[in-house]
Every structure is written in structure tokens, then in C-alpha cells.
Symmetry: C2
Subunit: 96 residues, 2 copies
């Protein structure tokens, strides 16, 4: 697995927005989310997700359909499909 | 101008995400942003923006290219194009 591409679009005291692009065969690498976050899928895709315990699952994302997660998620996201996966990660800073 | 469609995708204590869909000839109506917010354009479009003083301007948005604004923006967004405009608004709650 080679690394996904991460480009920061916004970085203010309030929020950080990162565009993630995973070409086929790439992965984010294992990471822990330190902040609450919203994901906005740009592509409709299937992600392969490895949890901290190594458990593997599939997660479908739908273009334009956002979702929210609390801080603490610990995982590695792989692209095992034949198409690029693109999504924006919006991390919420200063949430007390 | 008929009203744009607004669908709430996420509403938690931390954040609210609203999907805005403006068919040609529709508008958001004048509104004041009470919270800091991020816009994620889903379409590449040209918005017509009326500021609080009535001043009219054009603003291009690019699909997947987010931007951040502080609370206090007071405007009305119109779609004077021939294509639907779609974007997500991510409002940041509890920012002190």
C-alpha cells in the first residue's frame, strides 16, 4: 500500500479541511482521530477499513452524503477498488 | 425567486450539515450566518450573491473545493444559471 494524498484546503483556529485522494492500492495509514470530524464523500466508493484490532470491514460512501464521527476513531482506510476514492475531512477544533 | 431546498444531513451538539440545492431561478432567501461555517461545493457553479446593502456580485464555486467563513455574513444567494447549484454548509457549533 502506498500512501494516500492529503491536501489541506482550510486551516483556521476553528476548523481544518483536508482533501483525501486514494488511488487504487493506496491507504491513509493507521491513524487516530484527535478531533470530532465530518466526512464529505466526493466520490461514491467502497472503502476497506481496518480497525485498531485488525478487523477488516467494507464501508460504502455516497458522493455528497456527509456523516459525523466523534474523536477517538482509530483505523486505516484502504482503497482496494479500481477507482480513485476522494473525500473531504472536516476536523472541528476548539470543541471544549 | 422560489426557495432553495435545504436538507439537514447531520445535526449534533457539535455541528450541523445542510445540503442546499438551488434549481435555476431559486434562492436561499436573505439570511445571516449565526455560526462559523464551511462550504463544500458539490457542483462547479456560479452563484449570484446579494449583500445586505443590496450589492450584487458573482461568486464561482468549484466542486470539492471548500472554503471557510466567520459568522455574521448576511446575504441572499440566487441561482441565475441554467444548472442546479448544490453545496453542503457545515456550521460549527460551540465555538466559544
Amino acid at each position: 500500500m502506498h500512501p494516500a494524498r492529503a491536501d489541506i484546503q482550510v486551516d483556521t483556529p476553528e476548523v481544518r479541511v483536508t482533501e483525501w485522494r486514494l488511488v487504487p492500492g493506496s491507504s491513509t495509514g493507521r491513524h487516530v482521530h484527535e478531533m470530532d470530524y465530518v466526512i464529505v464523500p466526493i466520490t461514491t466508493s467502497e472503502m476497506t477499513v481496518f480497525a485498531a484490532n485488525g478487523e477488516r470491514s467494507r464501508a460504502r460512501i455516497d458522493a455528497g452524503k456527509s456523516y459525523f464521527r466523534k474523536a477517538g476513531v482509530d483505523h486505516d482506510v484502504h482503497n482496494e477498488t479500481t477507482s480513485e476514492i476522494v473525500f473531504l475531512e472536516i476536523e472541528l477544533k476548539d470543541q471544549g
